[in-house]
Amino acid sequence: MTKGDAEHPAGSTQAVNTQAVNAQAVVESTYRSESRRVLATLVRLLGDLDLAEEAMQEAFRAALEQWPSGGLPENPRAWLISTGRFKAIDALRRRSRVDHWDGDRLEAIAGAPEEDAEMQRALEHIPDDNLRLIFICCHPELSHDAQVALTLREVCDLTTEEIARAFLVRASTVAQRIVRAKATLRNKQLSVELPAAGELPRRLDAVLRTIYLVFNEGYAASGGEELTRADLSGEAIRLGRLLVDLLPDPEAFGLLALMLLQDSRRDARVTRQGDIILLEDQDRSLWNRPQIEEGRTLVDRAIRTGTIGAYTLQAAIAGEHAAAPDFDATRWDRIVAYYDLLLRVEPSPVVELNRAVAVAMRDSAEEGLKLVEQILARGELSDFHLLHAARADFYRRAGRREEAGEAYRRALELARQEPERRLLRRRLGEVE
């Protein structure tokens, strides 16, 4: 046996290879579990989304090179954050030869406290960092489209192409939204600070609205590839859970509950052909019971805080529907009471319309009609197809077929989504 053979017996090459494969698998699984946290902390340390993303990619690239031979670091997350920060300082140093702006930033970043203390602090602040990243992506200075795109990309780690597919727009459109949003954040220097206590409610509203927008985009039966759209609702629920973990605000509980309860009916609300199945006709055995339980528990928890907001009230209403064993057993009295509260928290003609539908169920179709006529008399929602659809249903149930037909026709003129139009045509046929 030669010396070379002793140093490299046949088996050990394989062992090294297996080790390398394992290390690569470890880097990949670390990416899945840690990349958002690493990114969030780098955003705080570097003060810029683009720079932080670049630093994170570089850090994982370095991990792929070094972990197979050097072994796994004791604390991979700390290693990645620290490596990312140094990579960013290197990059800025190179760039400062070209770009004065980068040079200024280099001073700010490289002048940060010593490494050990800095890393210790960085790790202690991870939950704050994640929350900060969500607040950054949902900054009120950004458009709704931009908030949604940025949140899905930076917090949920969806690719630009995946976001584009889910929203039925071109990838270049989404890419541009993200690039512009980042430029806005950078130019206005909005990126790094968590909102102050006084500003929190307004900022949290923007976060909740963004998450709900993502959810509704996935929930609305407005066409597109169904799978991708259901995924969007899933992402929104995941975001809702993350938010509840980071910031146990009553409305965060309320929003998560609302999404879980609405989503629990997903399998029962449309036919295989894409036709809408109304609540009263749905097969309730298809409703997702564990999700309903979880949603209702969250509603209770939110209500017990004593601060009851619009999301919690909508969730409470959805919870009442979910709790009824069949349509006739629905507690319309409670639902009307929740709508009364909702009108006080967030007065709007649409909420009034929904309350009118509940009143019609609790009392009579005539009572519902009266309330809808009041909304119309104020000149509100006269072009809203759902108002005319509700009016038509009330007339139909009151046996006033001619007026019902007229209202269905008006609703058909205004409705845009095909499944809704099919439902309206079906109803119109019933009264003609």
Binding site: E53, E54, R95, R153, T159, E161, S172, A175
Partner: protein, 122 residues
Amino acid sequence: MKYFCLGYYDVDARGRLSREDFAAIASRCAPLDEELRATGAVSSTASLVEREVVTLRTRGGELSTTDGPYVESKEQVGSFFIVEASDLNEAVRIAGRHPAARLGEELGWAIEVRPIAHFKEE
């Protein structure tokens, strides 16, 4: 995902610029090029000869060749490179370090980023 990046320039502007001004811009390219290479995400970088372009096409069932680029325009392709990135935004961020994205306003420089649908290296 791979993204094909094309570097454009304005042919007339190139002719108008003095030798000194052009040299000043060229001297600022090297650190950007170096940085682009340092990302490890760029391959197949190429710059193209300005003249001697031939376009081939079949017209009336016959192969014809013409002198000059397919699109007659003052903006011409001067270089290309390929970026490996996880999505379009990462590709845009990386391509954004290329000299033609950061410099050469007076030369009409620009970078176009295009997703590659199918890629095969022979």
